[in-house]
């Protein structure tokens, strides 16, 4: 049974029909790379999976939590779905350690000591154990993004959504973030990534999903699709990236 099941999903922004019937099953431990031009609906699709974006029709189910156009238990859903953003979105008034601890304390109701230990081990996992007491503005972009990953992981999500998480980084900082994500993938974390890092998508992705005009235009094994795109749109997209 799929961990994430998306069926016949539709969404409009005003008169703009941005998602035109998306069906997608994601198995536990899979790494999904969502690619496509801007405006193809890939970020919108990602954001519906944790309820940041509503939708008009269809259904999403994540590990038994149903998301409906109306009336979803967002708290239960978001305990299972973590998200990392392009702009990191760390809380600037809190240290790295406090950023990681905050939601574990108030949402997961962990005690202070347990939350601190967990935060330390999460920061260790992303290679930033010595930055526990640093504020976000004392960290590089790559370090901030790794703290954001640690913060999401501390909630022990079943799925991690990554929304262009290296797009705001200087080129020399991209790899340190991708290395962390690669480790997560190797550990069996289920990842859904909107990304422009095609090499990474090819190497780490289990499934490539190419979106075009609000639909899944083509999807499958990344190696195969990159080598042999079936549609002119995907061929054109790959050509324009490289």
């Amino acid at each position: 049974m799929a961990l994430v099941r998306i069926e016949a999903l539709h969404k409009h922004f005003g008169s703009n029909h941005v998602l035109r019937g998306i069906d997608l099953d994601i198995e536990e431990g899979q790494v999904i790379a969502l690619i496509g031009r801007s405006g193809s609906g890939k970020s919108t699709l990602l954001r519906t999976i944790n309820g940041l974006e509503s939708f008009d029709d269809g259904s999403i189910e994540v590990d038994g939590e149903h998301i409906r156009p109306q009336g979803t238990d967002l708290r239960a859903l978001r305990m299972k779905v973590g998200m990392i953003f392009q702009q990191f979105n760390l809380f600037p008034h809190l240290t790295a350690g406090q950023n990681v601890m905050l939601a574990t304390r108030i949402v997961r109701k962990m005690g202070d000591d347990a939350a601190r230990d967990l935060a330390k081990s999460m920061l260790l996992k992303v290679g930033l154990q010595e930055k526990f007491d640093a504020y976000p503005d004392q960290l590089s972009g790559g370090q901030q993004q790794r703290v954001a990953i640690a913060r999401a992981l501390a909630m022990q999500p079943r799925v991690l959504l990554c929304d262009e998480i290296t797009s705001a980084l200087d080129p020399e900082l991209v790899n340190e973030v991708l290395a962390v994500v690669k480790n997560l993938a190797a550990e069996g974390m289920t990842l859904i990534m909107v990304t422009h890092e095609m090499r990474f998508a090819r190497e780490v992705g289990d499934k490539l999903v190419f979106m075009y005009q609000g639909r899944i235009h083509e999807s499958g094994d990344p190696q195969t699709l990159f080598a042999n795109p079936q549609t002119p749109e995907l061929a054109g997209f790959i050509g324009s990236i490289n």
Partner: protein, 218 residues
Amino acid sequence: MSDIELSDIVRNLLGGAAWTLGLSLTAFVLGGLAGLAVLFARIARNPLPRRLAQAYIEVFQGTPLLMQLFIIFFGSSLIGLEIPPWLAAALGLTLFTSAYLGEIWRGCVEAIPKGQWEASASLAMSHVEQMRHVILPQALRIAIAPTVGFSVQVVKGTAVTSIIGFVELTKTGSMLANATFQPFLVFGLVALGYFALCYPLSAYSRMLERKIHGSRAH
């Protein structure tokens, strides 16, 4: 009529200034508390409190403070409530202050980037938890300077209450001017009194602003 000496004038004005200060503090503290309520109504997700707060703000920002005081002072006696000038003054200034502070603070809350809401929502935090732990601590930092800056307006606003007969600095001044026939001297001293109250506040506000612009966050 110069049997009133300068020292008498100054002593009386200092007494009036104490009332001005007391009224300012009362209005600022109570207005701040009421302003918090206005803020929360103004940013509520339910549209009803939001609209009510907006109407409240528009009424108090869209009419002169003097009219608000007249309506409270004379309006209350019309409905049979005799309220003393100090109470009408305190009530009027409190309402006035709450409307402005509520709106200033709303601006500060809305200045917090959308990403902060999205990140905290994605961590399964409820609206109240987001406000309490993520949004308000950041909004508070940027609110300090404009809030202190607005307190200057409250101090100056108290002068208007002299018209409904509250004996603060301005009212004391006009009584002294009538008695001494030295309006220039007396009102010069009154102005000096307001300046002495307001200048430290505006200087402090400027200093806070520099400090916040100089260092980001924490």
